[in-house]
């Protein structure tokens, strides 16, 4: 069976799963939904593997296949088929997505058990996976946009999964609208591409692009910038990132799947996928790279001060994606994708661990209230630490190799790109610090009430949960985890998922060790062989030096974290007091929300209100009533003349007579 056939199956299973669960929302027992959901993704993963194998079967040069089912909308010179494009890159994404998703489904199977909306959840989740796969497998820009929007919708649906929470619905709306802005960017890019190249499908576009465009001509730059709008919106890069932290309103598995492992990395994939165009528009590429850099630093600072566990991790996600964007835009494609993969492992893991802690805290996500879970939840803590280590790029962990490869490449490209290496390491320091800040604030220390209860009784029971944001009581009937929580330890599916990921987080990096093996690079090579950066290869020496520095920095970071949060726990307060303005800036997320609110939201609403209150009433309606009034007024005059005096009638008659006669006299 050909790779494309397998690829179609990859798409098919999640879709079927989603539909089946949705239609059977009354018939199916809860567990069944979970099982179907998990299985369908598992099958998708299997098919993905099969596709990969059959792809590896054929010549490196011919490792790309397009296949289409039917004409989707092909008239008037536009040619849009329902087609997919299978090559190592897309399959790499397929594997990462389906693989991680399977584990997260498994995790959710346990985690969401006490949730009323169980069917809905799995239906949405499957739909998300389908959309994500559509995104990565799409064979032309239009279908890419479709997948792009579908994941956006799925993310919306899952963010506002607990839809009775005002905070959740608001967050969902925010995420959706910002993502639509991204879509628009893509759509305009597509138009421009069509205008210049006359086609939408990858094959034609990438083939013709070099002869159609001259490097850095404005059109290609415009195209790439528009693509970037889409990428940034999806991957939460500055300044379109504000939706991501709010998205943490959704159930934790969602955060771990969509907002850590898969969807948010779509931007990275997009740039890698369209690298042909970006290499024609270096300016745009640099813009992307610098944005990535900025994001990774800014996000890092925010992650440092957040007291909300999930939000903190979310910011770290932003910053990690910053690395990837940076990587793929400076040409370190395989490195970027590599980091994408490792990040998927450890970030998903971190969220899962955080999830089980938060569950134990009855959805209180405030780390100030957490402590002593090390004893209370041993398994969770271990996995959490694994994740943290990988994130902090602790030597030999997955993050260690992937992050470093990017920086090494930047260094190898030389010139101004060295900046990326330098600041990249600064970011790395930040990362290590905030990662272990979390670890040290949550795990060690005197157990807090919940932790204690857990230690004593082996389970926790709470009064009706409250929305931490608004403090209003949650109504559990819409599907909010009830008073009875599922703690990771006590639930094998969750353990399994976390265990596997923990291992991957630790050893996942070994697939790509300088000088030793280059599994990913080799696998992706056919995609990028035409790239102009293909010749750039950091020397093994440089790489090992880089690794050395990286390891040192991460250890340093961990050390700092220990010093601040364990050894001298009162220091942070003092520091805050010292650097008050900086701290407030970070805590308020650099005021991005306020900025956008001021620049976009308010004006829009103001216009709307003006239109409604003033324009509609006075101009539009005035147009109608005005005319009506004039006519009616004329009527009044005519009827006033109709006085009922026969003599005045006669008068008018004679007047008319005189007038008429006068006209005729003049005409004579």
């Amino acid at each position: 069976m050909s790779a494309t056939a397998w690829a179609w199956l990859v798409l098919l299973f999640p879709l079927l799963g989603s539909i089946a669960i949705a239609l059977g929302y009354r018939a199916l027992p809860a567990k069944a939904a979970g099982i179907i959901g998990t299985l369908s993704i598992g099958l998708a993963f299997a098919c993905g593997v099969a596709a990969t194998i059959s792809l590896l079967g054929d010549e490196p040069h011919s490792r790309h296949h397009a296949s289409s089912l039917w004409d989707y909308a092909s008239v008037a010179g536009l040619d849009i088929k329902l087609g997919i494009f299978v090559d190592p890159l897309s399959l790499f994404m397929v594997l990462v997505v389906t693989g991680v998703s399977t584990l997260i489904h498994l995790y959710s199977y346990g985690y969401m058990q006490s949730d009323e909306g169980y069917h809905r959840f799995f239906s949405y989740l499957n739909f998300f996976v389908f959309s994500m796969l559509l995104l990565v497998l799409a064979g032309n820009f239009v279908l890419l946009i479709v997948g792009w929007a579908f994941v956006g919708f799925a993310s919306y649906a899952l963010i506002s999964f607990w839809y009775r929470r005002e905070t959740a619905t608001k967050a969902g709306m925010k995420a959706f609208v910002i993502n639509v802005v991204g879509d628009i960017g893509l759509v305009l890019a597509a138009f421009l591409i069509f205008r210049e190249v006359g086609a939408f499908d990858y094959g034609t576009v990438f083939e013709r692009a070099p002869e159609v465009f001259t490097t850095n001509e404005w059109t290609i730059t415009a195209i790439c910038l528009l693509l970037l709008v889409g990428a940034f919106a999806k991957s939460a890069q500055l300044p379109l990132h504000t939706w991501l932290p709010d998205a943490m309103e959704g159930p934790t598995p969602v955060s771990s799947l969509i907002h850590a492992a898969t969807m948010v990395t779509a931007g990275v994939y997009l740039i890698a996928r369209t690298h042909v165009l970006f290499e024609l528009a270096p300016t745009a590429a640099d813009v992307a790279a610098f944005t990535g850099l900025a994001t990774l630093l800014v996000a890092g600072t925010m992650a440092l001060v957040m007291t909300d566990l999930k939000r903190a991790i979310a910011y770290s996600t932003m910053s990690q994606i910053g690395y990837m964007i940076m990587g793929v835009s400076i040409g370190a494609y395989s490195a970027g994708m590599f980091h994408l993969m490792t990040h998927a492992f450890f970030k998903a893991l971190l969220f899962m661990a955080a999830g089980s802690i938060i569950a134990a805290m009855a959805n209180d996500q405030n780390i100030d209230r957490m402590s002593g879970f090390g004893k209370a939840m041993r398994f969770t803590s271990i996995t959490f630490v694994c994740g943290a280590l990988a994130l902090a790029a602790f030597p030999s962990t997955s993050g260690f190799f992937s992050k470093d490869e990017i920086l090494a490449f930047a260094e190898a490209r030389g010139g101004m790109y060295v900046i990326f290496t330098v600041l990249g390491y600064v970011g790395a320091l930040l990362t290590a610090v905030y990662a272990f800040r979390l670890v040290f604030r949550v795990l060690p220390g005197r157990p807090c009430a919940e932790a204690q209860e857990l230690i004593d009784t082996g389970h926790v029971a709470h009064e009706a949960p409250k929305n931490p944001a608004t403090g209003e009581p949650e109504d559990t009937d819409v599907g909010f985890p009830g008073a009875e929580h599922h703690i990771a330890e006590q639930n094998w599916p969750m353990r399994a998922a976390m265990g596997v990921l923990a291992v991957l987080a630790l050893v996942g990096g070994l697939v790509q060790v300088p000088d030793v093996d280059h599994v990913i690079t080799n696998f992706l090579h056919p995609v990028f062989e035409a790239s102009i950066f293909e010749h750039i290869h950091p020397s093994p020496r440089a790489e090992w030096i880089g690794l050395g520095i990286g390891g040192a920095i991460s250890l340093l970071g961990i050390g700092i974290a220990y010093y601040f949060y364990v050894a001298r726990a009162e220091l942070p307060r003092r520091l805050e007091a010292r650097l008050r303005p900086l701290h407030t800036l970070f805590v308020n997320k650099w005021y991005f929300d306020e900025l956008i609110d001021f620049l976009v939201v308010r004006p829009a609403l103001a216009t709307g209100r003006f239109a409604d209150r003033v324009f509609e009433r006075f101009v539009v309606d005035g147009l109608v009533t005005g005319t009506a009034e004039t006519v009616r007024g004329a009527g009044g005059v005519v009827r006033a003349v109709q006085s009922g005096f026969v003599r005045s009638y006669a008068l008018l008659l004679f007047a008319g007579f005189a007038g008429l006669a006068l006209y005729f006299l003049l005409a004579s």
């Binding site: 005045s648 008068l651 005189a658 006669a661 006068l662």
Partner: protein, 171 residues
């Protein structure tokens, strides 16, 4: 001589007319109209239309005016108040009158029709005498003539409808 006659009767006609509209008491107005009619008849004679003149005297001054007098006597022609309820009427009415007069005369005087300036062609003796008129009426204008008789009938019926004293039966 003709001038004298013309102006005499013209003044009579005009005077009569003015009398009609100026005199407060309807009864006097009627009398004024009679004067007017007679002088008009004279003018007709000047225009060598004997039959019309005769008809004028007989029909109008005879029949119609008598009818008038009766009615006035019946309803009692009280004078009317000088108060003018319609704004501008008293001011506009004469104005319009003058305007009409001017326009009509201009139309006549500025006409390029030469015959207007003449006394008209000299006509043979029979012109406008009953015989001639009668012939026309029975030949060319037979239908209008008959029709007008029908009109008289209808008018009579109308008068009955309007003026007959209704028996209270069907009221």
């Amino acid at each position: 001589m003709e001038e004298v006659l013309f102006f005499g009767s013209a003044i009579g006609a005009l005077g009569g007319a003015v009398g009609v509209i100026a005199l407060r008491n309807p009864f006097y107005s009627v009398l004024a109209l009679i004067v007017h009619l007679f002088s008009l008849a004279a003018l007709f004679l000047l225009l060598t239309s004997a039959f019309v003149a005769a008809a004028q005297v007989v029909v109008y001054a005879g029949a119609v005016m008598v009818l008038y007098v009766f009615v006035v006597a019946y309803v009692g022609g009280g004078g009317e108040s000088a108060w003018e309820p319609i704004p501008g009427q008293r001011f506009l009415a004469p104005l319009l009158g003058i305007a009409l007069f001017v326009e009509l005369s201009v139309a006549v005087l500025s006409s390029s029709l030469l015959a207007l300036g003449t006394d008209g062609p000299d006509v043979e003796a029979g012109f406008g005498d009953p015989a001639a008129i009668g012939t026309l009426m029975l030949e060319k204008f037979l239908l209008p003539f008959e029709a007008s008789s029908l009109l008289l009938l209808l008018a009579a019926v109308g008068a009955i409808v309007l003026a007959h004293r209704r028996r209270e039966a069907n009221a």
